[in-house]
Symmetry: C2
Subunit: 242 residues, 2 copies
C-alpha cells in the first residue's frame, strides 16, 4: 500500500471513488498487470467464474472488462476457449485520447497538425546528433513499395505505407515513446484523410519522399527537415479542403 500524507488526494490515474464495485475490479486487474502477475497473452477466467470468485455479479465483471478492453489493455473472443486476453500496447490508446480531446474542442486540429510537424522535425535533429549514421533500409524499402502501390493504384496500401513511413522515421531515434506518439498522431490524421487519399498528388508525394531520403542519406538534415515539413503542410492543407 502506498504511503501518503493525510488529506492528500490519491494519484491521478486511479479515480478516488473506490465506492463503485466495478472500479475496484478494474483496479485489481490493473494491479496484477503492474505487478507482472498478468502479462500480454495471458487469459483471464471466464466472466462467470470471475464473478463468482470475486463475489460480485456478472454485470460488474462485464463493466470492468469493458473498461479495460476499451483502454486497450485486453481483448475479448467469444466461444469455447474464448475469454479476455491481455493485449500488447498500441498507439491507438494515445490516438483515441487525442481524438477525444479534439471532439471536445479542447485542442484544435490546426494545433495538432503543427505539433506533428514540430515533433517530426525535432526527431530529425535527434537523429542528426546520434553517434552512428541512421539505417535507412526500412525507409528505402518503404519508398519502393510506395512506388509500386502508386502504379498499381492500391489506395489502402498507400495509406498503410504512409503510416509505416512516419513510424520508420520516428524509429530512427530509437525512442519508443516518440515512436508511439508519432504513430498516434499519424493514425489520427489518417482517420480524417482516409477517404481522400486518391485525391492527393501521387507524383508529388513520390518526389518528396525521394528528395527526403536523398537528403537524409547525404546527411543534409536541415534540407530533409524542410522537405518533410513542406510535405506535411501540403497534407494538412489537403485536410482543410472539405
Amino acid at each position: 500500500m502506498t504511503q501518503r500524507s493525510p488529506g492528500r488526494p490519491a494519484v491521478a490515474f486511479t479515480p478516488v471513488r473506490g465506492g463503485r464495485t466495478f472500479e475496484i475490479v478494474v483496479q485489481q486487474i490493473r494491479d496484477k498487470l503492474a505487478s507482472g502477475e498478468l502479462g500480454p497473452g495471458d487469459k483471464l477466467p471466464a466472466e462467470r467464474d470471475l464473478a463468482q470468485h470475486l463475489n460480485v455479479s456478472r454485470n460488474v465483471v462485464r463493466e470492468a472488462l469493458r473498461i479495460l478492453e476499451n483502454a486497450g489493455l485486453l481483448s475479448t473472443r467469444k466461444g469455447a476457449h474464448g475469454g479476455a486476453f491481455i493485449e500488447q500496447g498500441s498507439p491507438a490508446l494515445i490516438s483515441q485520447a487525442f481524438n477525444d480531446l479534439l471532439t471536445l474542442n479542447a485542442i484544435s486540429l490546426d494545433d495538432l497538425l503543427k505539433a506533428r510537424e514540430l515533433m517530426l522535425g525535432m526527431m530529425l535533429d535527434v537523429v542528426r546528433d546520434l553517434p552512428a549514421a541512421p539505417d535507412l533500409g526500412a525507409l528505402r524499402n518503404n519508398l519502393a513499395e510506395t512506388e509500386a502501390a502508386v502504379t498499381s493504384g492500391d489506395s489502402p496500401r498507400r495509406v498503410q505505407l504512409a503510416r509505416e513511413f512516419y513510424h520508420d522515421v520516428a524509429s530512427l531515434t530509437g525512442n519508443s515513446a516518440l515512436v508511439f506518439t508519432v504513430d498516434a498522431q499519424t493514425g489520427l490524421v489518417q482517420t480524417f484523410l482516409r477517404y481522400r487519399v486518391q485525391d492527393m498528388d501521387a507524383q508529388q508525394l513520390l518526389q518528396s519522399r525521394r528528395a527526403f531520403l536523398d537528403h537524409l542519406a547525404a546527411g543534409r538534415f536541415e534540407e530533409a527537415k524542410a522537405e518533410l515539413g513542406a510535405h506535411l503542410r501540403r497534407v494538412h492543407k489537403h485536410l482543410w479542403r472539405r
Copy 2:
C-alpha cells in the same frame, strides 16, 4: 420525456443494430459529440430512458456509458437530477494512455523521460522563433510562489507548482496540443515522484528555475534549454533511486 438543460433541444437517439450493441451506442454518442449535437455540460437521458429509446437493454447502455466515462468524455452522478454529463477535455486522458503503455512494457520509462526532455527543448526552439518576445509573467509568478512554498515547506503546493511550471513553459508556444502533451507527461512523472518531493534539493531547484528564467528573459534560449535539460535529468535520476 427526458428533461434536459434549458436552451438545447432534446437529442434524438435512433435504435441500434449490427456488431456489438454497446459499441454502436458508444459510437452514436461519440458522433453526437463530434457533430456538436452534444457538448460539455449537457446531460444524457437517464439510463432507463436511453435504453428504451434505443430499444436495447439497460445493461448495454450501462456498458456504453462505462466506456465513455472511463475515456473521460462524461461523468455520472447519482440521485435525482443525477445522470451522465459531458465533460471538458483533460490531459489525464493522454496520461492514462501513456501509463497503460508503461505497465504493458510497450514503452520504457527511460524513453518516456528522454522524450519529455526533447519535447521541452523543442518548445523552447519554437518560442525562440516566435515573432514576439515571450510573456514570462506566469513563469515569474510561478517562481515567486515556489519560493514561498519552499520556505513554508508545503510539499503538495510544490508539486502543484511544478506541474504549472511546465504547463506555463508549454503555453509559451501557444499550441494547445503541445500543452496537453506536456501536461500529460508531467502528470505521469509526478505519479512516480509525488511521494518523494521532499527528498529533492529545494535550493538547487530554485537556483535552476531562476537561471532558466534569467536566460529566457535575456533571449539566451540555448542556455535556457541547457539549464532545463540539466534539471530534468536530475529529476529523472531521482526517479531511479528507489
